[in-house]
């Protein structure tokens, strides 16, 4: 384990009521990256994040966050947005942000000063002295996100940050995440929505059934599947057919098969030599969703789709 990693975890296990919620999770989050944890509901994402933050202790395994094996010792350098948003309803927005900073060691006076600046910068200047209960859901969520960032954390952990946000606010949050990453902060977030991870993350972990099924870059995940080739020919049959891979299938008059290991060129040569009459040829790289289904299974993929559809 080196200091190049903001988060290092190996063999994390957590059991609730005899059921293993997390079953040997390993995670290595490089410092300064945006790292996504993908998985359906009940996969163990939240429990893993809570263990990494020291909210709960693992039954087995080791974790190190910003070089600390006791994560709470690094609490002043960590920002955390839980999945279930929580703010004191009667607290003014400015005080809520300053309070969250004070919990992480930021003096209240400085917290209030930064809160004013952050609220102003995010178009909520007029809401600074309004109680949280009087704000719209989106505004309250923004306040909580600003409270997560007010003390300038090196590691920002966001549990399902996009849930409950409309498209406009999702876009704003994506921009904010990129902005924080640009300052050198490490962003670790969990999500149901593969598209967010695909757009934002340098690296991802796919968790299903309490285990990490895949850990690596988004490209590595995609490489789990071979690119799909779709070929349309004028001739329906001929000696060139023997050049097509064995798993080729015909859908609506097009030949569909995985890109052969040797590349497309030998196949093209055979098709031309056999007068197949190539009308159309496309090679499509699989998306992260397909890779997720291939890695985590059809059931996990369906669960992710259902949650993504339920989101605003």
């Amino acid at each position: 384990m080196t200091q190049d990693f903001a988060v290092e975890a190996s063999g994390l296990v957590k059991t609730f009521d005899g059921k293993r919620a997390v079953d040997g999770v390993d995670l290595m989050v490089p410092a300064g990256t945006i790292y996504g944890v993908l998985g359906p509901n009940g996969a163990g994402k939240t429990t893993t994040l809570r263990m990494l933050l020291g909210i709960i202790d693992p039954d087995e395994g080791e974790r190190k966050v910003l070089g600390q094996s006791q994560p709470l010792r690094a609490a002043g350098q960590i920002g955390y947005l839980p999945e279930e948003r929580g703010l004191y309803p009667a607290m003014p927005a400015r005080e809520a942000i300053a309070f969250m900073g004070a919990l992480r060691g930021l003096p209240l006076k400085e917290g209030r000063r930064r809160a004013d600046a952050l609220l102003q910068a995010h178009g909520l200047g007029e809401a600074a002295h309004r109680a949280i209960r009087t704000l719209s859901k989106g505004m309250a969520q923004t306040v909580q996100i600003l409270g997560t960032l007010v003390h300038g954390p090196k590691l920002i952990v966001l549990d399902e940050p996009f849930s409950g946000l409309d498209a406009l606010n999702q876009g704003r949050l994506e921009a904010l995440i990129r902005e924080q990453a640009a300052t050198g902060a490490t962003i670790l977030f969990s999500t149901h929505v593969i598209a967010h991870a695909e757009r934002l993350c340098a690296r991802i972990a796919i968790i299903a059934g309490g285990r990490v099924q895949f850990e690596g870059s988004v490209d590595d995940a995609r490489n789990h599947l071979k690119p799909k080739v779709t070929l349309t020919t004028r001739a329906n049959d001929g000696p060139w057919r023997t050049a097509l891979p064995a798993d080729t299938r015909n859908e609506n008059g097009s030949w569909i098969f995985d890109l052969p290991d040797g590349g497309i060129e030998p196949l093209l040569a055979a098709l031309i030599a056999g007068n197949a009459g190539i009308e159309a040829l496309s090679i499509e790289r699989p998306g992260l969703h397909d890779a997720f289904v291939a890695i985590a299974g059809e059931a996990a993929g369906r669960a992710m789709d259902e949650v993504a559809e339920a989101l605003p």
């Binding site: 957590k14 009521d17 955390y80 004191y88 919990l103």
Partner: protein, 398 residues
């Protein structure tokens, strides 16, 4: 440790400010006024309905001739002022222990004072108020009786004569009981507020934000401190208005209070210390057990056995008032949850200070232990991922 303390202070400050700077706190402060106002209203209605005034009775311990002369004096006064204006006499002949005889007479219905020691050394025994109210009429009866000539009356006020020890004891017993009851009410109301505070935190989901930033022990301690601060604020305000109100409206009632055996300053200081100990012992238990609950209903269900247990503890501590040397009183002084009550009663009744030092050390040891146990329960159950399903599911699962 310093980081934990700092974190606890951040939480305590937030909770304290949020509680004290709210409109509901004003209601909380004026809450105790309602029973007083209703008491005064119903008391006034009751006194109007009750048209027949109770004529006080003077107990007389005297031989036949002395008693007869006094009775004649009373009759002459009644002819002059009217029968209802002069207290009746209830005469008993001297028999054995005069102190015991006076006490028995005072225990009879409507007997306000007891006159004894005639003819040479007349002594009037009763509470200071009764002595003040009946002293003049007794003096008048004795002066009107030429056969008795001018006999000086010794007024035996509470605490001023060894001969009326039993009267002084009654006052201190009442003070001990009152102190215990006040302690019980304050502890139960204020420690119970911790639960509602915890529920607010759980329902607003803030608890996870707190637990991710500071050790759970600091959350637990911060909450205890905040509610303790709020309680002491409330108690200070109530005490200020209660003492001020009585001092302005009925100063004689304040003066009539029996002086606690350890003296007022030590009694008040010990009262504060025993309240803090009692509050922390009960509050830690409430927080620890309350953290197991996931709904308000569960919290209410859980708080019921604790409340009942506290009443049993109070009943145990009451035995210390009746007989401080008894075995139950000793158990009450030792058992951590009843110890503050038993020792407060002792402070009212017995002058030694040193047992209180021992008791405070003993209670603080328990406070430390219970806070640790409560914090551990809190840490283990306040945040359980994976949908634990609440207390009942957990209980069934075990």
């Amino acid at each position: 440790m310093i980081a934990k303390l700092r974190a606890a202070l951040v939480i305590a400050r937030r909770d304290y400010v949020a509680t004290v700077w709210s409109r509901t706190f004003i209601l909380f402060l004026i809450g105790p006024l309602f029973p007083i106002i209703f008491g005064v209203i119903f008391g006034a209605i009751g006194s109007r309905i009750h048209q027949d005034p109770v004529i006080p009775v003077i107990g007389v311990v005297a031989n036949g001739d002395d008693a007869h002369r006094l009775q004649q004096a009373r009759t002459r006064l009644a002819q002059h002022f009217g029968d209802g204006a002069v207290p009746y006499l209830q005469v008993v002949t001297p028999d054995g222990d005069p102190v015991k005889q006076r006490k028995l007479l005072l225990d009879r219905p409507n007997v306000a004072v007891v006159l004894s020691g005639m003819p040479g050394h007349a002594v009037l025994t009763g509470s200071p108020n009764a002595l003040k109210e009946q002293g003049d009429i007794v003096r008048l009866m004795l002066q009107r009786d030429v056969a008795l000539e001018m006999i000086p009356i010794k007024r035996s006020a509470i605490g001023s004569s060894a001969g009326v020890v039993e009267t002084k004891d009654v006052g201190r017993t009442n003070l001990a009981r009152g102190g215990q009851l006040t302690l019980l009410i304050l502890t139960m109301i204020l420690a119970g507020m911790l639960l509602s505070n915890l529920i607010e935190e759980k329902s607003s989901k803030v608890i996870e934000i707190l637990a991710a930033a500071v050790p759970v022990d600091a959350i637990f301690f911060g909450k205890l401190m905040a509610m303790l601060g709020m309680s002491l604020t409330g108690i200070t305000v109530w005490a200020f208005f209660a003492v001020g109100g009585v001092a302005v409206l009925a100063p004689d009632k304040l003066m009539a209070l029996a002086v606690p055996a350890v003296g007022w300053p030590a009694f008040i200081a010990l009262g504060v210390v025993y309240f803090i100990a009692s509050y922390l012992l009960l509050g830690s238990l409430f927080l620890g057990i309350g953290s197991q609950a996931s709904t308000v209903r569960e919290v209410q269900t859980l708080s019921m056995p604790i409340t009942m247990g506290q009443l049993i503890v109070f009943a145990l501590a009451s035995t210390a008032v009746e007989d401080a040397g008894s075995l139950p009183a000793g158990i009450a002084a030792l058992f951590p949850w009843s110890s503050p009550f038993a020792m407060l009663a002792r402070a009212a009744q017995q002058p030694e200070i040193w047992p209180h030092f021992l008791a405070v050390i003993w209670q603080m040891l328990w406070v430390g232990l219970i806070i640790r146990v409560g914090a551990r329960m809190f840490r283990r159950s306040v945040l359980k991922s994976g949908g634990s399903g609440g207390l009942w599911k957990r209980l069934r699962g075990r």
